[in-house]
Amino acid sequence: MSFREKSAWISVLSMTGIYGFYFWSVIHAGPHAGGFHLGSLLVTIIALVILQVVLTIAVAIFTPKEAQAPRDERDKLIELRAMRVAYAGLATSVALACFFGAFNPPIIFNTNSLLFILVTAEILRSACQIIQYRRGA
C-alpha cells in the first residue's frame, strides 16, 4: 500500500469517526443549541487536525522513503478523478441544500447541512482515491 493510499485511509477513517460523532451530538442537542454547536465544532476541527497529523507522522516514520517521494503521474490522475467525483457530489448536494433552504429551516440546520455536504464530499474524494488505488488506477 502506497503512502498516498494510507493518507486517504487516514482521511476517510478520521473524518468519518470525528465528524460522525459531531453530527451525532448535533442531532441529539436539538435545533436551538447554537452555542453548543460552535464549541463542539471547534473541538471537532482541532481533534481532527491533531489525529490526522499524528497518524500521518506515524505512517511517515514507518515508511520514510515513500513519504518523501513526490506524487507521480498515477497519483495525480487518481487525485483528479477523485476530485471530479467529489465535485459532482458537492455541486448536487449544494443545489439540494439551496432548494430545501427555501423552506426557511433554522439557521443552525443550514449551517450544519452545508458542513455535512463539505465533509461528505471530502470523504467521497478520499474513498474514490482508495478505490482507484485498490483497482490499480
Binding site: M1, S2, E5, E66, A69, D72, E73, R74, D75, Y133, R135, G136, A137
Partner: protein
Amino acid sequence: MGVIRNEIRRLRFEHGEMTQQELAEKIKVTRQTVNAIELGKYSPSLEAAFRISAVFGKPLESVFHYSQDE
C-alpha cells in the same frame, strides 16, 4: 476497447533481476505504479513509457504492445 500489454517483467528479469523499486526510482514513479503498469492495470503516459524503454535500451514497441481486439 484495446489493451496495452508490456514486457516489463521479462525485461526486468533479463536486466539482472531488476526490482520494481529499482525501476521505479529510475523512471521517477512509485513502486506501486510500476506494479500497476506491469499488471496492465494502468497505462503509463507517453513520457513514462519512453523512460521505461530507455532504461531497458529497447524501442518503445518492444516494451509495449497494443492489441485492439480485446
